[in-house]
Assembly symmetry: C2
Homo-oligomer: 99 residues x 2
Amino acid sequence: MNLFDVPDILPEEEQTELLLAGKTRIERIVSGGQTSDWYDQAEDEWVCVLKGEGELEYADGSRQRLRAGDTAYLPAHLRHRVSYTSAPCIWLCVFRPAE
Amino acid sequence: MNLFDVPDILPEEEQTELLLAGKTRIERIVSGGQTSDWYDQAEDEWVCVLKGEGELEYADGSRQRLRAGDTAYLPAHLRHRVSYTSAPCIWLCVFRPAE
């Protein structure tokens, strides 16, 4: 699968597991305007936007806009939510066990 | 740092550590036509090309061309080398300990 290939019609957010090796997991998520509820994850997550734009909101109310090529690191249990996505917004996410 | 921002002048391959968390390491590598010697790595590596084109050669002589958005998984000790890169070629590499 090519990371930049996106379905023409995207009724829901699309989540694709690219790698599962031991406890390392890499996913592509294609959003189309969706936002999310709050996450309180058990894993560390490194994320970048490959295409489009997304925005993360943190528990203190701050927001981080991510344009194509921007990255963020979300240590386990850092509460966050996706407060905006363009249509489409392609995310690449690397999850690893917290230590 | 934005993953798509590349120096105008790139006399050598540029390697940037984006994340080092426990034993998980994420790097951006910007090539500009360089190729490499053979690698026999102790870590597993997942790689994608974000921009441009690269080519991997394997010990059996086969070659894998990676265009922007293409990915490859290189388990530890899978002998490989970079046999071609465009100028520039932006790689995103995720390394994890072999198990």
